[in-house]
């Protein structure tokens, strides 16, 4: 399983990267962590004429806490993000999701931006980002723009990035509420496998323990991760009792139209997605109550 032959360059800056992307367009692929791309190269499913290695561009690495947000540069290693104090304290949901991403060894190389740009329907980072309403900073020779994550995932492995655009940064809004809780549950066949389904939840309780705000996103059940608007609506204003959560689970189940799959029936996938959502909601509620 050896890749096709290709040219390889290491742009020294984001500008240089964008210039090369504009010149090479579909013939070039960015290599960041390589944990997804290199297997595709090995299987000759990816056949770029040119690889642009962005691992040495300093401007693409780093985590910063801003006013009401956490900014993660695209080429930040997943392991670094998981260990980073800012992520652990201000983007807990992402930290929880990261624990499920691949394996420790792949997290040592895999990047936050690489996962987002890859847009696997079951990917944990994108799922958490969707729940957090992330904003993605994107650049090309034509300038910068921000894409809301709700507009970013277009289909399985398909994003709103133009062929000459690169992901530069992800900004995660930080909720200012007092009692915030997070929950993340996924189901994979083996421990480190890609998720068949996953649920990411963040919620805030008011002083009386009533849910003021909640975000529920489900992954692996459709071509892209999805926010569960109906379930969210059902839970706002409630105390998140067992019956509330069960109703929300039923709404999640009904909101999903899983693609036909030889491995797992639609019935099964719906039940799993609903159950994971319920577990994640309960986890988030308990965490918020303790806060």
């Amino acid at each position: 399983m050896k890749p096709v032959d290709f040219d390889y360059e290491r742009p020294v800056s984001v500008d240089a990267l964008c210039r090369r992307l504009a010149e090479a367009r579909e013939d070039a692929k960015i290599i960041a962590g390589g944990q997804t791309l290199v297997p595709l190269l090995a299987m000759r499913l990816a056949r770029p004429a040119l690889l642009l290695d962005i691992n040495r561009i300093a401007a693409l690495d780093g985590i910063a806490a801003g006013d009401g947000f956490v900014a993660i540069r695209a080429c930040t290693r997943q392991a670094a993000a998981l260990a980073h104090e800012t992520v652990r304290s201000r983007a807990k949901l992402l930290a929880k999701a990261l624990k499920h991403v691949g394996h420790g060894q792949t997290r040592n190389r895999g990047t936050i931006g690489g996962s987002i740009a890859n847009a696997d329907p079951a990917a944990e980072i994108g799922l958490a980002a969707l729940a957090l309403d992330a904003a993605l900073g994107v650049r090309s020779v034509r300038g910068e723009r921000t894409i809301a994550i709700r507009d970013f995932f277009r289909g399985a492995m398909e994003t709103a990035l133009a062929p000459d655009e690169c992901l530069v940064e992800m900004r995660l809004p930080v909720w200012r509420d007092n009692a915030v809780g997070t929950g993340f549950h996924e189901m994979s066949v083996r421990h480190s496998d890609f998720a068949l389904a996953a649920a990411a939840v963040q919620l805030a309780l008011d002083a009386g323990g009533v849910c003021r705000r909640i975000a529920i996103s489900i992954g692996g059940a459709a071509a892209t991760p999805l926010r569960m608007a109906e379930a969210e609506k059902r839970l706002v204003g409630t105390r998140l009792e067992e019956r509330d959560i069960a109703d929300a689970g039923a709404l999640v189940r009904d909101a999903i139209a899983p693609l036909p799959d030889p491995h797992a029936s639609a019935l099964y996938r719906r039940r799993v997605a609903a159950s994971l959502a319920e577990r994640a909601i309960a986890e988030a509620r308990d965490e918020a109550r303790a806060a």
Partner: protein, 169 residues
């Protein structure tokens, strides 16, 4: 087509070479440097037989292009022993508890285990299973490996040291 210069440190020795862009790090280590201790099991990042330490962190060498390792400090299984004749505490613990059979996954296991012990002096069984969770073994069922890593951790903390001349080898 595309050849590139590469300078890195491997097991403490500075190595320089010219490699094709598409050559993976594991193939470079094995074919060019003739360090055949690191093994190829799947070439798509699942089995972990190719694990090496890159700047101290365990990674899959089949998922790195050799050229990406320019400037890096790499440790392979051949670099784990303290000298040409001896074995590290971890390697010796593997031997003591027979934590291997065919030996094919072993280099990757040792690397993953060494990385764990470098970061965690008192790993729990869960920590150990987690650390080697990305290294597949078909021979051992993992139990003797887990036990050996726990034993190594104990010995590195100064406890449960081997008696002199008690075992073969």
């Amino acid at each position: 087509m595309s050849q590139h210069d590469l300078v890195c440190t491997v097991n403490g020795k500075r190595r320089s070479a010219r490699v094709a862009a598409r050559t993976t790090l594991v193939d470079f280590l094995r074919d060019e440097l003739r360090l055949t201790g690191t093994h190829v099991g799947c070439e798509h990042g699942v089995c972990g037989a190719c694990s090496v330490l890159l700047d101290g962190a365990p990674v899959r060498a089949c998922l790195l292009l050799a050229v990406q390792a320019d400037g890096a400090d790499i440790v392979t299984v051949e670099g784990l022993a303290p000298d040409a004749e001896g074995l590290s505490v971890l390697q010796d613990s593997f031997w003591e508890l027979h934590a291997l059979q065919c030996g094919y996954c072993t280099p990757g296991m040792l690397i993953a285990a060494q990385a764990l012990l470098n970061a965690n002096r008192a790993p729990t069984e869960h920590d150990i299973r987690d650390a080697i969770g990305g290294n597949l073994c078909r021979c051992t069922g993992y139990k003797q490996i887990v036990d050996a890593i726990a034993l190594a951790a104990e010995r590195l903390r100064g406890a449960n040291l081997p008696q002199r001349g008690s075992d073969a080898g």
